[in-house]
């Protein structure tokens, strides 16, 4: 029996009236990969943030290598050899990778010495764990995958023995994820301890040695991974039977609702992000766009949703409403009127105003709607009602419509956005990463909703880095690489590996 790296006993934490952790006890063993799963808002991140000294527990004890310790802040945690990769990365966007890594561990009074030392050390780490990152790149310009590696490097550079990752794969492609797991295994084999929070059972089964399941702030299960399978975990987690398969009838799609022609996009530096994109989405079909993140899917969605002006091309709704995209962008408000809804990839920055209450967020973009107005004012009761409806339809937790959206866990934030956009009963739905950072319970619900809409004859364009999701939902799958569509596969013929090749840019 390996010796104990971390022992948490009776951890309890409240945020105002939200009880995030209730008397949580947990043991993590040296040299193992320990998974923590649970629904959104179960308290996983909070618990780990406490271990990392980012929050203080209201009560409870922490032991590191059998020594009782007081972790007052991240500094203490770092000294105890604990490192954490937060889910929303803790990086300074306009700093270089190197600067981000040395930050807080600069060594000397002047930067130069510290940076040079770090550069060398970094090379070493890069070799050991195959984390290739350009030390001089500006972090803000890196993809999420790379940013995450920077976070890991930060931890290792500080000599972390215990590495905590909060939903590391939430923003990664399968390839990136696999790479990450290789890194984690390498770390374990070097005797380091890894704690990983995730919503993806496949990953849990793949990489972890032990799993702790949380629900509503409490630990409801503690098992050896070897002894369980997906379904067991899912049920443990949600506390009811969940169906991991999405069953959907085959339907023959109707007329073309969304017709995109010759869309191209150059950025300021003249780099082509989109090259002559042509695609059609018919009534009653879900068209999935698969691709390694950063290959233009996000931009495509932004252009179609009127957030980015394209440099070429046009799009057609229901055959009649034509939008010339060249040089300018269709007003999102107009698009909504025409019945085009948009679920943005970056919910926390675009889809929500975190300081606004949930009920205010549930009219964002539809704030002109007649049914919520009374004269020139809002009909407050109607607003609240609407929000309440969303909350119970999508079982958003906590259920108080007056809470600030920022107080919800991201998973629940996502549900608010979804509820809002679906509720407008659009004909065309532009969907980006609908289940990023969302728990299975919610995923099941969200997937059901999307299929329902499709069956009602909506046209849905789905962008996701989750291959499983694409495979599960789509009727047709387009693959994007390097800003152009590199292939189209009917869903029933598609396989993860096949798509993987296309995504890598390999024509089949």
């Amino acid at each position: 029996m390996a010796e104990i790296a971390i022992e948490l006993t009776g951890i309890d934490k409240r945020f105002g009236d939200v009880h995030a952790n209730r008397n949580v006890s947990l043991t993590i063993y040296q040299g193992s990969i320990h998974g923590i799963i649970g629904e959104n808002g179960a308290g996983k991140s909070t618990l780990m943030s406490i271990l990392y000294g980012y929050y203080q527990a209201d009560s409870g004890h922490i032991q590191v290598r059998q020594q009782p310790v007081h972790i007052r802040n991240s500094h203490d945690a770092i000294r105890l050899g604990i490192g954490m990769v937060h889910q929303h990365f803790m990086l300074v966007d306009n700093f270089s990778v190197l600067e981000n890594i040395v930050l807080g561990a600069e060594g000397g009074f002047t930067l130069k010495s510290g940076l040079d030392a770090a550069r060398i050390h970094l090379k070493q780490l890069n070799q050991d764990y195959g984390l290739e990152v350009d030390p001089d790149a500006i972090v803000g310009q890196l993809g999420v995958g790379l940013q995450q590696r920077v976070e890991i490097l930060k931890a290792l550079y500080r000599g972390a023995e215990v590495l905590i990752l909060d939903e590391p794969t939430a923003v990664l492609t399968p390839q990136e994820a696999d790479h990450l797991f290789r890194i984690l295994r390498a770390l374990r084999d070097q005797g380091k301890t890894v704690v990983i929070i995730t919503h993806k059972l496949r990953e849990v089964i793949d990489v972890t040695d032990r799993v702790t399941v949380m629900r509503a702030g409490e630990v409801v299960g503690n098992v050896m991974t070897a002894d369980v399978d997906k379904e067991d975990l899912a049920d443990l987690m949600v506390g009811r039977k969940v169906n991991l398969q999405v069953e959907k009838s085959t339907r023959t799609p109707g007329e073309v609702l969304l017709d995109v022609r010759h869309v191209s996009l150059k950025d300021k530096r003249g780099v082509e992000l989109l090259k002559d994109i042509n695609l059609q989405v018919r009534a009653g079909e879900i068209v999935g766009i698969a691709g390694v993140s950063g290959n233009g899917q996000s931009e495509l969605l932004e252009v179609l949703a009127g957030m980015l002006p394209a440099s070429e091309g046009e799009m057609l709704f229901k055959g009649e409403d034509l939008f010339r995209l060249k040089g300018h962008r269709p007003k999102p408000s107009i698009l909504r009127e025409k019945g085009v809804a948009h679920i943005p990839e970056d919910r926390s920055r675009e889809g929500l105003v975190k300081t606004f209450s949930v009920f205010e967020n549930s009219i964002l973009g539809y704030h002109h709607d007649r049914d919520i107005q009374k004269g020139w004012l809002y009909n407050r009761t109607a607003l609240i009602e609407k929000a309440k409806r969303f909350i119970q339809q999508f079982d958003i937790r906590p259920t108080n419509p007056l809470l600030r959206a920022g107080q919800l866990s991201g998973g629940n934030q996502q549900k608010v956005v979804l509820a809002r956009e679906i509720d407008s009963n659009p004909d065309v739905l532009l969907v980006g990463q609908p289940t990023r950072g969302v728990d299975i319970g919610a995923i099941e619900l969200i997937h059901k909703q999307l299929v329902k809409l499709r069956d009602e004859g909506k046209a849905i364009l789905l962008v996701s880095v989750e291959l499983d999701e694409i495979l599960a939902l789509s009727d047709r799958i387009l693959v994007m690489a390097g800003g152009r569509i590199t292939g189209e596969v009917p869903a029933h013929e598609a396989t993860a590996t096949g798509l993987g090749c296309l995504m890598g840019g390999v024509q089949s």
């Binding site: 802040n73 500094h75 770092i78 803790m90 966007d93 306009n94 700093f95 807080g104 002047t110 930067l111």
Partner: protein, 320 residues
């Protein structure tokens, strides 16, 4: 020719307090703390330095006092904005108002001169420093006026300022402290999880800011005017802030901003009352808006969107 140089000379003089103040602002705002209290700190420092210089017969004691008081106010601001997570704008306002109220009250109580300090005699003041050989070179074209107007004949504080500018720039961009200040101002959560005490960094930053404001105030009362007059900061703190934003929170551009303000001002002073060909005498008010109008035009024309440090003005609270 000579005119040009004398314009540049007065530019340097007028710019000095502005440059010091906007570098002060730089420290604080780069660390994520809005500082509209520059004005108040300058005023308070001007008063303290003049009073102490008068009592101690030593300008240096004066400067020390000025710095002390400015730092004290900076620490109040730090307590409110950092320890307290209070509203930084309000805190700044309060400090300005307190300074403009308290200085005359104390002045009246101590010197019975209507809230002003007594005029400082020459041994209590800083003086222009004439460099060797000024008179020798004076008549050489270009070199002469350049040397005598720009290089020689300024107060020690002016020279100090021009040492401070590169030092501060280095600090911000090349030192550990600078890196942390910038990090704390951009994303305090990142800094915090990297094991840095956001609070300590912000306090330190405001401390340095205080020192610089102290110098600015001392320059006004102990060197330039030779005494304290009520409200003598006369909006310089806000101009400095404007320059800082104008320079997009970067040291050198901010300094350039200050020099521009001062330069426009110097020109404006020279233009006034001079009757131009055709136009005749231009009304003084028209001339006096030149600096402000030019600033607006510059902002609109060249400077473009100024993006503040991301975390500026938001207290660092670990809660959603």
């Amino acid at each position: 020719m000579d005119l040009l140089f004398s314009i540049l000379e007065s530019t340097l003089r007028a710019a000095t307090p502005l440059m010091l103040a906007s570098l002060a602002g730089l420290f604080s705002e780069r660390s994520g703390v809005v500082d509209i209290s520059l004005e108040g700190k300058i005023l308070a420092a001007a008063f303290a330095s003049a009073s102490v210089a008068y009592i101690s017969h030593s300008p240096w004691m004066g400067m020390a006092a000025g710095m002390g008081v400015a730092v004290a106010l900076a620490m109040v601001h730090a307590f409110v904005s950092v320890t307290y997570n209070g509203n930084q704008l309000i805190s700044g306002m309060a400090i300005n108002i307190i300074a403009s109220g308290l200085t005359p009250v104390l002045g009246l109580a101590w010197f019975q001169q209507g809230g002003n300090s007594p005029q400082l005699e020459s041994d209590m003041r800083f003086h222009e420093i004439a460099w060797p050989g000024v008179d020798a070179v004076r008549d050489i074209p270009f070199i002469g006026p350049f040397y005598s107007h720009l290089i020689s004949g300024h107060s020690i504080i002016v020279y100090l300022t021009f040492i401070i500018i590169p030092v501060v720039t280095w600090f911000i961009y090349r030192s550990r402290f600078g890196l942390r200040v910038r990090a704390v101002g951009e994303n305090p959560h990142a800094a915090d999880t990297a094991g840095i005490s956001v609070a300590r960094i912000r306090y330190t930053a405001l401390f340095w800011g205080g020192l610089l404001c102290g110098m600015a105030g001392t320059f006004l009362s102990v060197y330039q005017t030779g005494g304290f007059i009520r409200e003598m900061s006369a909006g310089k703190g806000f101009l400095a802030l404007a320059a800082l934003i104008f320079g997009k929170w970067r040291p050198v551009p901010a300094v350039i901003g200050c020099l521009l303000f001062a330069f426009f001002d110097a020109i404006q002073i020279r233009l006034e009352g001079v009757s131009l060909p055709m136009v005749g005498e231009v009304p003084s008010q028209l001339i006096q808006v030149i600096p402000y109008v030019l600033t607006v035009l510059l902002m609109a024309g060249f400077v473009g969107r100024a993006t503040a440090p991301k975390a500026i003005g938001v207290p660092f609270v670990k809660s959603r």
